[in-house]
């Protein structure tokens, strides 16, 4: 009985139930919703959001927050495309991905130095670097969109895991880019749960002071976290550009609140030390559903922001309130 109540109180379970309810309601109002093409579209829409969300989850687990990752993604994506178009149009796509991830990691390292090196508050630092990265990109690199992206990147977006035609004649396909989301999840799972580094990330999120006393290199761990998020943002950026077949420097920025919403919905706590990949992926699924399919439920698209905001407040408010009640009962 208590185990049941525990499972029900978990964010993952709640989010899964909300998703289920959403899907059932959407299917009832429009039977075409529950079909392979819709699911493939949603999967496709969750690639970039999902990779970014995994990065943000790692930061939250370490006890920080990062809002600059979308600017990093746009910066890395645009610079890489520009570099490729101007100097090396024949670089294979994995080369482009490596360049973009390297740029992302470098920008992440700047956050890392400011946060781990100077001990500045993470929200304010990343708000500042968000403006710096974006301002630098648009002032000095370029503000015009590149529509003739290298053919290698275009070819990458055409590589499909599955493709087919539904009974009613609608096409569906799932690009290989989805495999990158799966890959990122696996790599992050290994880092978080199978290495000392992962233990260190959880430990400093739980308590910096305790982590320091058991001999964890707090600064080095924090530095790694921001570099890792930067690299993931670079990857998400280049995948976004490849799939959109255009590098738009104004893209992605503005998405950060939705990504953070997905992660906190999935149960990761802002005070650090707690977060799961399952929860994060469920959170991403819910946000993608709200962003793409709210209309199916008969809710106008203009209400999308309200719905996401309310979901954040409920998703974070419920556990916070439970924790507060538990604490006052213990006292």
């Amino acid at each position: 009985m208590t185990r049941w109540r525990e499972a029900l109180g978990r964010n993952e379970t709640l989010v899964a139930l909300v998703i289920l309810a959403f899907v059932v309601a959407a299917t009832l109002s429009d039977p075409r919703f529950f079909s392979i093409p819709t699911m493939m579209d949603l999967a496709r829409a969750s690639i970039v959001l999902g990779i970014l969300a995994v990065g943000v989850m790692v930061v939250l687990v370490s006890g920080g927050i990062d809002v600059s990752f979308t600017a990093i993604a746009a910066f890395a994506m645009y610079c890489t495309t520009l570099l490729l178009v101007t100097y090396m149009p024949d670089l294979p796509w994995y080369g482009a991905f490596a360049v973009s991830m390297a740029i992302g990691a470098t920008l992440g390292a700047i956050n890392g130095i400011l946060i781990a090196g100077f001990g500045l508050p993470t929200l304010i630092v990343t708000l500042g670097t968000l403006a710096i990265f974006r301002g630098f990109l648009l002032t000095f690199v370029g503000s015009r969109l590149i529509s003739n992206i290298p053919s290698e990147m275009r070819d990458f977006s055409r590589m499909m895991i599955v493709r087919g035609t539904n009974a009613d004649g609608s096409f569906y396909s799932l690009p290989w880019a989805f495999a990158f989301l799966v890959g990122v999840v696996i790599v992050t799972w290994v880092i978080l749960y199978k290495t000392m580094l992962g233990r260190a990330i959880f430990a400093i999120g739980g308590s910096v002071e305790s982590a320091r006393r058991v001999g964890i290199a707090v600064r080095r761990t924090q530095f790694f976290v921001y570099v890792y998020v930067g690299a993931l943002a670079g990857l998400a950026g280049i995948i976004h550009a490849s799939m959109a077949r255009v590098a738009n420097p104004f893209d992605l920025v503005g998405l950060e609140l939705s990504v953070i919403a997905a992660v906190v919905l999935g149960g990761a706590r802002l005070i650090g030390g707690y977060g799961t990949l399952t929860g994060t992926l469920l959170g991403v699924a819910l946000i993608v559903l709200v962003r793409n399919s709210l209309v199916v439920l008969g809710i106008p698209a203009t209400w999308q922001m309200v719905v996401i905001g309310v979901l954040i407040l409920i998703g974070t408010g419920l556990p916070a309130w439970q924790a507060k009640r538990a604490a006052s009962r213990a006292a």
Partner: protein, 342 residues
């Protein structure tokens, strides 16, 4: 003044800030002498800065408690949209007859929206125990989202002429927005330094546990802080609406960064406990001089964002490094307590 006295002034963050403000002013006056110092430019600055300066005041009072309010812009725009819809949709054509009366009603409605929004934030933070970042991030989305839903995403236009006064009018020859900002800054200064409430705010920011053991009703205090921030945001929203002669959900979207930047630049400790209104006022002035001067030099909006961001980081780095070379020996950052990262 003796050198000792000057040194004493410069040891305080506000003293250094006054120096920075003066330097920025002189630099800009030197770079574009004929335009920057013109009466026209000085008055146009007095009309421009109060809208984000008031948002910075809202940010300051929340930061004093160690929190942050990411919803200020959402509240400002929602309040403006409600006021604008009241004037154009509900009252409609009849507004021309009793223009002033309806404008006052609309402003009161905007303030009520601000207070209500602040109440929501306060309840989330104080009663439900949400971290202020998350509470105001979520509520900011909700407030902005209501703005979108109410207007369908487009601007509300056709405001009565009387609405223009608060943003563009003059009172005894002084721009109304400036009078409003000066009044609110003075009021906030008085409340923070001369009332029990102000003492509680700073005490809680400096040490929440000690404040609780001192039997301060923390929930009531936080509630009042967030309601004040919401009402200040609503005033800023009214100014923005009056100056733009319309209301829209995404007006002033760069002001959030600016409000945080000004508060931090003004010496307010983001971990709470320390901050003075005079510092915030000086920070506002230096930002406006910088912004206006850069504008005259033909610097793009993107570059301005870059400069603001760099400035924010620079100030944080200087304030966080007690041994920074520029500063006099023995200087301690305000509230030199080591806070947790986050």
């Amino acid at each position: 003044m003796t050198p000792e006295r000057i040194r004493g002034l410069l040891v305080q963050p506000e003293g250094r800030l006054a120096l920075i403000t003066l330097l920025v002013f002189l630099l800009m006056a030197w770079l574009t002498p004929d335009r920057f110092l013109s009466v026209q430019n000085l008055t146009s600055m007095a009309f421009q800065f109060p809208e984000f300066a008031i948002l910075a005041l809202a940010m300051t009072i929340v930061m004093l408690t160690g929190g942050i309010d990411l919803s200020v812009i959402g509240v400002a725009n929602l309040a403006a949209i409600v006021a604008a819809l009241l004037l154009t949709q509900i009252v409609g054509p009849g507004v021309a007859e009793h223009g002033t009366f309806w404008v006052v009603v609309a402003m009161l409605a905007a303030l009520a929206v601000g207070a209500l929004a602040g109440l929501v934030n306060g309840v989330l933070v104080a009663w439900l125990g949400l971290p202020p970042i998350l509470a105001t991030l979520g509520s900011g989305l909700v407030f902005t989202g209501f703005g979108v839903a109410l207007t369908g995403g487009s601007a509300v236009m056709g405001l009565p002429a009387e609405m223009a006064w608060i943003g563009n009018g003059r009172l005894w020859g002084i721009p109304v927005p400036l009078v409003l900002f000066a009044g609110l800054a003075l009021l906030l200064w008085f409340v923070l330094t001369h009332t029990a409430f102000g003492l509680k705010v700073r005490m809680f920011g400096a040490n929440p546990l000690a404040a609780r053991f001192a039997a301060i009703d923390i929930n009531a205090m936080l509630l009042r802080v967030y309601v004040s921030a919401g009402m200040l945001s609503a005033v800023a929203g009214l100014l923005i609406m009056s100056r733009a002669n319309s209301a829209k959900f995404d007006y002033g979207s760069s002001y959030l960064l600016l409000a945080i930047l000004i508060a931090v630049l003004g010496g307010v400790n983001p971990y709470g406990g320390y901050g003075r209104i005079i510092g915030v006022v000086l920070a506002v002035l230096s930002m406006q001089f910088l912004s206006s001067g850069l504008n005259m030099l033909g610097v793009s909006n993107f570059a301005r964002e870059l400069i603001w961001g760099s400035l924010l980081i620079l100030v944080m780095v200087i304030n966080a490094s007690p041994n920074f070379r520029i500063l006099p020996r023995g200087w301690q950052p305000p509230g030199a307590r080591q806070g947790p990262p986050g």
